[in-house]
Symmetry: C2
Subunit: 247 residues, 2 copies
C-alpha cells in the first residue's frame, strides 16, 4: 500500500522533479516530502533568485540551520558514546567532527555540487562550497522532515560511516596498516585495485576496490590514491571488525 | 486514566523524590520521567560524586549537551521568525539570545541554584552558576524526554517569555515607556507596586506588580527595581499586544 501511494505521488511529479526525488531518496535513505527545501539548499547566491516576497533566496540561511542541527546531533552522539569524556573533551571532539575539512569531504562524497544551479561555473566556487552545501542540505532535511529524520540521516549516513572516535583521538593512525597487518597474520591475499573515475566538473577522483581473499570487501572514492586506500581500509575495518577484534 | 496512572506512579516515589518531581513538573510544564538526569544536572563538581562505573559525575557534561540543544532550537526559531535575516544576522541574534548574561538570568529566574546539592556554600559559586545550571537542565530534559519535549519547554517557557527579537535588535528601548505612553493615551490609571521579596541565599530581589486600570496585568521579579519594572512592562506589553497594536 505504501509503495502504491508512493508510486502515485511519484507519478504526479514532473519528470525533472522525479529524477531529483529519486536522487535525494537514495542519499537520504528515506523519501523527501517537499522538494522546495532541497532546491533552496542547492541554490547558489549567484543565481540571484527571489522568493515570492521578493527576498533573495539561496542556501546561506540553511547553512546556519544545518550547522546548528549537526552540532546538536553530534553533541548527543558524543555524550552517549564517550561517558568518560569531560566537557572540554566533548567540545574538542565535536570541533574535529564538524571541521571545515570534514564537512567538505562529506559534501564532496555525496557530490552535492552536482545539484547546484548557478550562473557561475562550479569550479569557481572554491573548496568550501562542498561543506556549505552539506550544512544547507542538513538544514533542508530538518525543515522537510523534522529533527528525528535529520538525526536519522546523520546517524546512519554520517556518524556510522565517517565518525570514528578512535581515529579522531589519534589512536588509530592508519586503517590501511591495520588491514595489511591482519591479512598477513591470517595469511589472506589482499589487493587495492584502482578503477578509473573521471569524476565531475574536472575534479579528478580515484576509485579503489579492496579485495581480501579474492572478494571485494569495500570500495571508496577520493581525490588522491592514498585517501581512497585509507577510506576503503577504514570501511573494510568496520565491516570485519568483529573478526579482527576476536583475533 | 492518565491522572490515575500519574497518581499511582507518584505514590511509588519517596517523599523527597515526590517533592523534586512536583517542582520539576511545575517548571517544565510536563512530567519528568526519570529524575536521575535532573539530579545530575544539579550536582556540582564540589560534591565529588562518582557514578556506578567510578566516573566522576556532575553537571558539566550536561552543560555541553544543553548548550547544543539550546543552539539548535533557537536557530530554528530565528530561521522561521525572521525570514529576511541573512546568515550573519541569524548568527548574531542567536549569540545575543544565548549570551552568558541571558542564560544567567534564566537560571536565576527558575531559581535552579535552589536544587543544587554541594559541599560548598552556593554564594561561592559565582554568577555563572545560574547559566551553567540552566544549560545542564536543558541537557537533562533532552536525555529524559527527547528533542521534542526539550524544544517544547524552550518554546513555551523561554522563547515566548524571554526572547524578544525587536528588543534584541535594539528597536525597542524600553517597554516601560511603551506601556506608560499607551496608558496615558487610553486614559487608564497604572501603577508599579513593589512587593517585598527576600529571595534566597542572601541575594536581594525586587518583586513588582503592574496594575493597569486597577487590575494586575503582570508581575515580575528581578535583582533591581528598574529591571523588575521593565520585565513586568514587557510581559504586560505582550499580554496587551493586540490591543496596543490596534490603536
Amino acid at each position: 500500500m505504501r509503495r502504491f501511494l508512493r508510486k502515485i505521488s511519484r507519478n504526479s511529479r514532473s519528470p525533472e522533479d522525479g529524477i531529483f526525488f529519486e536522487k535525494l531518496a537514495k542519499i537520504l535513505g528515506f523519501d523527501p516530502k517537499d522538494l522546495k527545501y532541497y532546491r533552496k539548499a542547492f541554490t547558489h547566491r549567484s543565481s540571484n533568485k527571489l522568493d515570492e516576497n521578493g527576498i533573495p533566496f539561496n542556501y546561506e540561511r540553511l547553512e546556519f540551520l544545518g550547522d546548528a542541527m549537526l552540532g546538536s546531533v553530534i553533541a548527543a552522539h558524543l555524550y552517549n558514546e564517550v561517558p568518560g569524556g569531560d566537557e572540554g573533551y566533548l567540545t574538542k571532539m565535536r570541533s574535529k567532527i564538524v571541521s571545515r575539512e570534514h564537512l567538505n569531504e562529506l559534501g564532496r562524497d555525496f557530490n552535492l555540487v552536482g545539484f547546484v544551479e548557478s550562473k557561475v561555473n562550479s569550479s569557481q566556487f572554491g573548496e568550501n562550497i562542498h561543506g556549505n552545501l552539506f550544512e544547507a542540505f542538513i538544514g533542508a532535511i530538518y525543515l522537510d522532515r523534522g529533527y528525528t529524520y535529520c538525526e536519522k540521516f546523520l546517524r546512519t549516513k554520517i556518524i556510522k560511516q565517517y565518525v570514528d572516535i578512535a581515529q579522531l583521538e589519534g589512536k588509530v593512525i592508519s586503517y590501511k596498516s591495520l588491514i595489511i597487518e591482519w591479512c598477513q597474520k591470517e595469511k589472506m591475499p589482499f589487493s587495492f585495485d584502482f578503477v578509473e573515475d573521471n569524476g565531475i566538473e574536472g575534479q579528478k577522483y580515484f576509485g579503489v576496490k579492496l579485495h581480501i581473499d579474492h572478494k571485494v570487501i569495500s570500495k571508496a572514492r577520493a581525490t588522491s590514491k592514498k585517501k581512497a586506500e585509507e577510506k576503503a581500509s577504514q570501511r573494510a575495518y568496520f565491516a570485519l571488525q568483529e573478526k579482527i577484534s576476536k583475533k
